[in-house]
Point group: C2
Chain length 214, copies 2
C-alpha cells in the first residue's frame, strides 16, 4: 500500500505532524483543514486529499481530533520510536549537526561520528568520541544504524554513501553538494542550501524585471 | 509568464544546471535527456517537459547543446549575476554557514552577519565583523540585500523574518524550525533536516514491516 502514495504527500506529512504537535501543546482538541491549511500555506483540499490516502480522519464539518490525527501520523511516519544515526564528516558542518538540538527530541539519535582526519579522531563532542572513517564499516557491522548523515567534502561523499549502502543503511541525509547514486531501495534526502537559493533567484529576477531594474 | 510555471519545475532547474556544469567541465558538448535523466533520477520525459516551459532547446534525436542549455538556465534562474545576502544568527549553525564554501562560487555573497549576543558582536569571521541584531534594519536601509539567511533560535525567527520583509527582502533561507509566515510576494525556503528525516522514516518503517521486524 505505501508504494502507491506519492513522495510529495509523504514529504508533507511531517509538516502536518509538526503543526498538530504545536496545536496539542497549546491545548487544542480539534482543528479544521481550513485552519491547518492557513497555518501551513497549503489548501484545505490538499490536506484532505493527502490524509485520505491513509483512511478516514475527522468527520465532515467537525474538523480533525488533534490528538488522534497526531497519533495516527506519528505511527504512519514511524515517529513513535527512536532511530539510530551515524554521522560521517565532523568538520564545521558536522560539528553544527552534532550540536543541533532538534534531532534528539524527535527520536533521532546520533550514536556514532566518524572522520578521516587523524587530528579529529579521539576528540569528544557531545559525549561522542570521533572514530576514524576507516572503521565505519566495521562499526556498522557491530552496531547497525538506521540512517547515515553525510557531511564530508564533496569528493569523498559518494564513497562514504557506497559504504553506508553496503552496510545495509537504507536512509541517508546528504549534506555534500553531489548528485549521489543509491540503489532504488535506499532513500536519500539532500540538504543543499545552494539549490534552495538558486530556485528563489528565479523569482527575484522576475521581480526585478517587473520593477524595471534589469 | 513565469507565473504559470509550477514551483516544482523551478526547483528542478538548478539541479539540471548543476549537472550541465559538471558535464561542461568534463568537456562534454552534447547530452541527451536520457543521459541527464539517468544521472539525476528524473525521467527523460520530465526533463523535456520542464524545459519546454522556457522554449525549444535541443533538436529531436540530437540531444541538448551543453554550453547553450547551461547558459540559458543560468539566465532563467538569475545565476549570471551576484546576489547579496545577510545572515542573522551566528551561533554554531551560523558559523558553519559563514564557513560554507559553496555559496560564493555560485554568486551568493554574505555581506552582513548579525547576532543578538553582545559576546559575539564585534568578532570577525571570514572578513565579516558581526553586528548587533538591533542594527539589522538600519543596516539594510543603508545597504540593501537580496536574500536573508535566518539561523536564529526558533523563538526569535519570525520576528527576524518580519524585520527582513519590512526592509524589502524578497527571499529568505530559513534554518529555524518554524512554519514562518511571509507575504505572498516573499519567497522562503526552509532548510530543515528533521522534516527530511521524518519523511524517510515512513519508508524505513515500511521496509521493517516487510522484513517482519515490526
Amino acid at each position: 500500500m505505501p508504494i502507491e502514495i506519492p513522495d510529495v504527500v509523504i514529504d508533507r506529512l511531517p509538516i502536518y505532524a509538526r503543526a498538530l504537535n504545536l496545536l496539542q501543546r497549546s491545548g487544542r482538541e480539534v482543528v479544521s483543514s481550513q485552519e491547518l491549511g492557513a497555518q501551513l500555506g497549503v489548501t484545505p483540499a490538499q490536506i484532505r486529499k493527502d490524509l485520505s490516502y491513509f483512511g478516514r480522519f475527522g468527520k465532515q464539518g467537525r474538523g480533525y481530533s488533534v490528538p488522534r490525527l497526531l497519533e495516527e501520523l506519528r505511527q504512519i511516519l514511524g515517529l513513535d520510536r527512536d532511530w539510530l544515526m551515524v554521522l560521517i564528516g565532523v568538520g564545521q558542518l558536522g560539528r553544527a549537526i552534532l550540536a543541533y538540538g532538534g534531532f534528539a527530541p524527535q527520536g533521532f539519535r546520533i550514536v556514532g561520528a566518524f572522520d578521516a582526519d587523524p587530528g579529529l579522531v579521539g576528540q569528544e563532542i557531545n559525549d561522542l568520541v570521533i572514530k576514524p572513517a576507516s572503521e565505519l564499516k566495521l562499526s556498522l557491522t557491530q552496531r547497525p544504524a538506521d540512517i547515515g548523515i553525510v557531511a564530508t567534502p564533496a569528493a569523498h561523499a559518494q564513497a562514504v554513501i557506497d559504504d553506508l549502502v553496503g552496510c545495509g543503511v537504507k536512509a541517508i541525509l546528504n549534506y555534500a553538494p553531489i548528485a549521489a547514486h543509491v540503489p532504488p531501495d535506499v532513500h536519500i534526502k539532500d540538504i543543499d542550501p545552494v539549490l534552495s537559493l538558486q530556485s528563489m533567484t528565479f523569482y527575484l529576477k522576475g521581480q526585478l524585471a517587473v520593477a524595471g531594474v534589469k
